[in-house]
């Protein structure tokens, strides 16, 4: 299975290597660098690269390439999924998964990788088990460790690995018993220049933060479970119960985890909560272009649209942009031609707009297409699909937990307006 792992940063340096079987020379990465050079964008490096003796499977996250070296047939998704799991674990441990964070915590990283794979086959990937084995570094613990010389490595051995509920550590104790659930929905949409929706879909996740003593058995039910078209569960959810009663029944892991991700059936029409009025023109022969963009809220049930961020890849011919935002700030990178406008909150009374001129390369013909606009936003306290949690019950433990549910809607990675 996975033979070795190399971490490569944006500038093409290998800054960490780990081998699970015999050592593979880092020169194998040359094939990767070749592919990297050929790719115009960092994302364009193909995830699977064959070399004479090995296969390289890589993922790119946080501007770091995680390059796994494979020697024989293996489902590529197996490796890719695992690599993403590694990144998630790092993020979980260090807060961020950057080159600096990894370098600072190289020992913990190594200990984690050692536990996560045995002979290239995943061994412990559950965060609950890993945290029992290796404590995540915190400022306090680092200080204590340097003074007392104690370690990050757990003295306890992970009993979770043996149980039927391997995702939950045993002997959990809290003085305040709390269970929080965040229903987060993302809209992915493509809207054409006339403002009509080409495609739109909603997918959501329920992220949980459960801090409950003992072995609680929870059930979560929805008011309108029919909305959920396609679901995927954390392994803790009992599938049969869902099939029969549309109830989520589970013994939760301790701490943060993703309980459920779902897709809302496409029959339901999706209302995009933002609209864009645009007027971008380039005139033939002139080295000026006009740029005019206005945003407005739509069907938000009175909730404010926040953290709005507009970004657009302007045509290559644009040299510079001289724009005037009615609110927020904008930046234009003349090299990558990326315009981004941090709008903030949309005030329905005073719609935010960005107006001004673009200077074009003199003599060059006018760009023949308009750019696309990507929009990010957040709406608190609303799930756009209308999904509602009905109740949460706990069995198996006697205390009364504090329960909380939060809804949020935001734009997915792909909420874009085509202006051409």
């Amino acid at each position: 299975m996975i033979h070795s792992l190399f971490l490569v940063n944006a500038s093409g340096d290998i800054f960490l290597e780990k081998h699970w079987k015999s050592v593979v020379s880092r020169s194998v990465c040359d094939y990767f660098f070749e592919a990297q050079e050929r790719a115009t964008e960092p994302e364009n490096v193909p995830p699977v690269i064959p070399t004479p003796h090995h296969y390289l499977i890589s993922v790119l996250r946080h501007r770091i390439y995680f390059v796994a070296v494979i020697q024989s047939e293996v489902p590529p998704l197996f490796v890719i999924e695992f690599l993403h799991r590694v990144v998630d674990t790092f993020q979980d441990y260090f807060g961020v998964c950057t080159e600096a964070a990894i370098k600072d915590n190289v020992v913990v990283v190594y200990e984690l990788l050692e536990e996560m794979l045995d002979n290239g086959f995943p061994l412990a990937t559950e965060s609950n088990i890993l945290k029992e084995l290796i404590k995540p570094p915190t400022i306090l613990r680092t200080m204590v460790n340097t003074i007392t010389g104690s370690t990050n490595v757990g003295e306890q051995l992970p009993t979770g690995q043996l149980s039927v509920v391997p995702w939950r550590r045993t002997g959990v104790k809290y003085t305040n018993n709390e269970a929080y659930f965040d229903v987060v929905e993302e809209i992915d949409a493509i809207i054409d220049k006339s403002g009509s929706t080409i495609t739109a879909e909603i997918q959501g996740v329920i992220d949980a933060c459960v801090k409950l003593t003992g072995m609680p058995d929870l059930t979560l039910s929805f008011m309108n479970p029919r909305l959920l078209d396609d679901v995927s569960f954390h392994p803790c959810v009992r599938f049969k119960r869902w099939e029969a009663e549309r109830i989520l029944s589970f013994i939760p892991p301790d701490g943060n985890f993703r309980l459920l991700s779902y897709h809302v059936s496409s029959q339901n029409l999706v209302a995009i909560p933002v609209y864009v009025k645009h007027n971008i023109t380039f005139r033939e022969g002139s080295s000026q272009g006009r740029f005019d963009l206005t945003l407005g809220p739509k069907q938000t049930m009175g909730k404010a649209v926040e953290s709005v961020l507009v970004s657009s890849q302007l045509p290559r011919g644009v040299l510079n942009a001289n724009l005037n935002p009615s609110q927020g700030t904008y930046t234009f990178d003349p090299v990558t031609k990326l315009l981004s406008w941090d709008v903030g909150k949309i005030n329905p009374q005073k719609l935010p707009s960005l107006k001004g001129t673009m200077s074009l390369q003199a003599g060059a013909s006018k760009p023949d297409e308009n750019p696309t606009i990507n929009i990010q936003f957040k709406i608190q306290q609303m799930a756009i699909s209308g999904l509602k949690v009905n109740r949460l019950d706990m069995y198996g433990e006697k205390y009364k937990p504090f329960k909380g549910i939060k809804y949020m809607t935001k734009a997915g990675n792909l909420c874009q307006f085509r202006l051409h």
Partner: protein
Amino acid sequence: MDVGFSSLRSEAVGAVRTAMVSAENLQLTLKAELSQEEQALTHIRSNPKEAHKAGNEDLKEMLESSKESLKLEAMKRIVGLIAKGKNASELFPAVVKNVASKNIELKKLVYVYLVRYAEEQQDLALLSISTFQRALKDPNQFIRASALRVLSSIRVPIIVPIMMLAIKEAAADLSPYVRKTSAHAIQKLFSLDADQKEQLIEVIEKLLKDKSTLVAGSVVMAFEEVCPDRIDLIHKNYRKLCNLLVDVEEWGQVVIISMLTRYARTQFTSPWKEGAMFDENNEKAFYESDSEEKKGHTEEKPYIMDPDHRLLLRNTKPLLQSRNTAVVMSVAQLYWHLAPKHEVSIVTKSLVRLLRSHREVQYIVLQNIATMSIQRKGMFEPFMKSFYVRSTDATHIKTLKLEILTNLANEANISTILREFQTYVKSQDKAFAAATIQAIGRCATNISEVTDTCLNGLVLLLSNRDETVVAESVVVIKKLLQTQPTQHSEIIKHMAKLFDNITVPMARASILWLIGEYCERVPKIAPDVLRKMAKSFTAEEDIVKLQTVNLAAKLYLTNSKQTKLLTQYILNLGKYDQNYDIRDRTRFIRQLIVPSEKSGALNKYARRILLAPKPAPVLESSFKDRDRFQLGTLSHSLNSKATGYQELSDWPAVAPDQSVRNVEIIEASGSDSEEESSESEKTSSDSGKSSSGSEQSSSESELEQKKKKKTKKVPQKKSKPTAADRYSEIPAVCWSLRASFFFPVTTSSFGPVKTYELLHHMTGKGLAAKYHFPRQPCLYQPSMVAVQVILSNSSDHSLEEIHIGDRSPASLSIHCFNTIERLEPEASVTVSMGIDFSDSTQAANFQLCTKEDQFSVSIQPAVGELLMPSSMTEQDFCKEQGKLQGMNETSATITMETANASSQAISKQVLSVANVGVVSSSQNNFSRFAGRTVSSGALVLVSLELKESSTALLTINTEKTVMASMLLRDIKQALTQA
């Protein structure tokens, strides 16, 4: 099994022996080197070149310090070095000493280091082996497991027998976690030494029977690695694996599913009825030969799915809901390859869901969908919009989405797709725009209704500002025109007009080819284009030059009046071109078309050769032939066979015997311990299982089995009340115990090894033998003394069948080494034996035989070798000494050589004579040593009290008075002489 074990054990011990001796020797030599290096370093501290070494030197010092925190710090820095790929192998001896440290983190880091460098420093790595061997017997399952894990990761061929033994024992362990580890170790051992395959298969067979969900994934992985062709091992476990599947951890699920897919294809008949199979696909049937073959068969009796086949499909279906994309993909491919055609579409939704995952996941999933969508458009058509391209997608994702959209295109949806394609053509990513034009071309050829629309659209694109777009359009138009050239002379004229503005070579070449091919339709324009080309010929790219030559030749044949001179001019230019392809082509064309005396028969046919009607190119998917690979595999992804790819066999025409999968219900030992270990979580496990696990198993027998288990569970718990104690988690204590016990022992026994002659090569007719006492506990039998014999052949012919023959006294128990089949001249071999001397110095006589001769030899042990070290504290020592007074005490006053007066020197001398352990002493003038006799285990206590002027009182306390006096004599001798 027992016989197997004992022989294994003997091999293992042999290996340990050799390992230990070589390790000892090495450490000795290394120590010498170290001191030299240290000396050298003190002299040249200031030399900057030595800076790196000095850096490692201080790491070495830190490692050798007594402070735990310093050691840990050093190890952390070393791990940092390893992570950066720097070489830290010279620290091996210093690091490996900490292998038995009490500190868990330190220990783990040492493991990391050990596994990384053991291969390079094989001999030194052996120093650590006994630590792991001991840990394998630890009462704590995690320590056993981790010991096995590290032991099996040390890639040193010499310990193969030890690993084998450890794996066999761990496979029978009560703890499922240890058994899981042993399944992992199987693969490691197999990659280290493939000769162990047969034995490993036995272990795999045993582990496959295991009922624990923990073990299932790992053992199937081992099966796939070691013996994927032994499908017969699966039969009996098939139903169990199907039923356990939902509860296995996600990574194991992937492996099991892919193995079961292969299994099912060999054991069940095809569920694909012919006719229904390819209703959506009017092209050549993929499994054509297959379905034809079956035709007669299915008509006779309707297809009934094997219940086991159904079981697999039913039990994998819930896994489509897994959060792990690899699991979802593997279920999808299972359905694709195994399910009846109408059931396959249930995987669609889940696959589309995966498209919202990370980019890399999308890439793989899209590749698989592309292959699937060629055969089954209907599966993905309702989800067409999910394949719309986003401007933020990476190029390879965009291309794949295009591919799928093109595959999905049909008469009904083509207008939507074309509209979507139009926006892609405007994309700023020009490579993508070009790919879109290709896709439009494909749609146009596949769906005749839209060919004209597409062609018109493409012609419009010819006036696009972007060159790549225009070029690609030209190329695609060229292909399209070939299919129906008659009506399109207008387009060719239009392209000829554009010709001057197009600079992309491929596009220019395409236009030239078009004009040449259809020159009779554009009789006025063609010669003019040739004229222009004659002017710019030298400046063109090779591909354009070739097409110019072609155009000239074709025109010469159709319109020689106008173009004769031009053609000759171009042919002359081509004759002196730098590129030999062009020169060759020119020469060929000239011979073909220009009539002369020499030109052969071909001249007549020139027109038919050059202007033959050419078949239109078929624009088809690049994923057309990917279906020869199993979906979801690396090979499929690369479209070439990856190493270790297992072909998916075709369905058998007649199903093999189904009854092979029937199992009698027997309780395997595995399931018992599983119950035990989960005891602590009984409440939760019961509730968890009942909803997720057992509901899956719908077959009657399964339920019964469960019931049986449950009833059995109760008495078992009573009979084993100590289960909890056995698994009590006190790792720190365990490790510390070992550290204090094991480490002083090994260090103390690193004395000089005295070698004795057993057989001189003169008497042995060329066979020479030497022996020494490696002073290690003998693993064959604890009452034996380990002896290592080095056999060498100094004759000029090879000696065969060296073995041990008769022995005297007859009661003497010797553990012989295995017969050495052949010993080449000048070769030598080290073997180990065990001899039970029964605590006497009486010689062991035996015969050393070769094929031809027998030689009587004898081993006379020194009394000190009949002991083994014993560790005890000073208090214990005094207490024991108090019990052995009177006639059990022998003492003498000795005058020591002054060089021997220090306590280290005393230890050294005593240890050279007797295999005893040093007892740490709080008094400076006392040196104490403790040991036990090997056979009877009687205590032997040696104490030495220093008096003034290098005299000392040597006392030996033991029940074995004869030994005491002999030992006294030996030690006295050692201490009094220099």
